[in-house]
């Protein structure tokens, strides 16, 4: 499985993502700088966490309008599996690839700890190796992870199985405790928790590894 990690100025989880992808897929991902207009054909695109463009204007707002994102949007719309973690999730919403927005945590605290969440949809290409209803433990590290969408959008997300992960307890004020959502086609996933930080026992667990294995399983 060939993968790409998109790197923005201020990304800081790009190397963690690259290490996770290489360990799990056996292939080194291509690292793509945000000023590129094009990049090699890949089976999987990852938008990593961090504080791209210093979170200027809104988290992910600048990155979502960068050159490389025009290509990412084109490929994601054409069906290429695309994962956005943390700042990557914020970028996906700002780019219009996922509905809603990520706002400042309701209690204003930066939250950095392992959290428990439930796998709500165990059928997607990102979650098929989990069992729906299972609790997994994955770390979060964010200031702006408070997921917001209007009630109609939330109902639609729930109804269509687009809520991939839900926090077991309130972490950041997110509407309906949403931790991660899929697009309609199911090939784009945005999530605040960091699966790339939970890929081997030495890191505290392997609950995140399963996500990448699901994609690998799907793509063969």
């Amino acid at each position: 499985m060939k993968s790409a990690v998109i790197v923005f100025p201020g990304s800081n989880c790009d190397r963690d993502m690259a290490v996770a992808l290489e360990k799990i897929t056996g292939q080194k991902p291509v690292m793509v700088w945000h000023q590129e207009y094009d990049f090699p054909e890949v089976d999987f695109i990852a938008l990593p966490g961090g504080f791209s463009y210093g979170d200027y204007l809104r988290c992910g707002a600048m990155s979502a309008r960068s050159h490389v994102m025009k290509e990412v949007i084109k490929r994601a719309n054409a069906g290429v599996p695309t994962l956005g973690v943390c700042n990557g999730f914020q970028i996906l919403t700002e780019a219009g690839l996922l509905p809603g927005a990520l706002m400042r945590n309701a209690n204003l605290h930066f939250v950095c700890r392992d959290v428990e969440m439930t796998v709500e949809n165990g059928d997607s290409m990102f979650t098929r190796n989990y069992e729906a209803g299972t609790t997994v433990t994955i770390p979060v590290a964010h200031h702006d992870g408070n997921y917001f969408a209007d009630a109609d959008t939330l109902d639609r997300l729930e109804g269509e199985g687009q809520v991939a992960f839900r926090y077991n307890d309130d972490v950041n004020g997110a509407q309906r405790r949403i931790a991660g959502i899929l697009n309609e086609k199911g090939n784009v996933l945005g999530m605040m928790p960091h699966p790339e930080r939970m890929i081997e026992p030495a890191l505290g667990g392997t609950d995140g590894r399963v996500l990448f294995e699901s994609v690998l399983h799907t793509l063969g």
């Binding site: 204007l57 809104r58 707002a61 945590n105 309701a106 204003l108 408070n146 917001f148």
Partner: protein, 79 residues
Amino acid sequence: MKARIHITLKNGVLDPQGKAIEHALGNMGFGGVDAARQGKYIELDLQHSDRAKAEAEVDEMCKKLLANTVIENYSIELE
């Protein structure tokens, strides 16, 4: 021409920073504040001399970048 843009959170969208400001004002002894909402102010110097064109373009800028219309409203003043 100058464009002055105010960006505010929509009604019903929780504004935790506004809430913190409201509490701080209360703690400081300013008793008369029922609510505080925090927003953004952006000023643009435009080359346009045609007001209608400028307004249409700034509106486009707001929709495409300056505001996130999922959570924010904006208003534009031209001068």
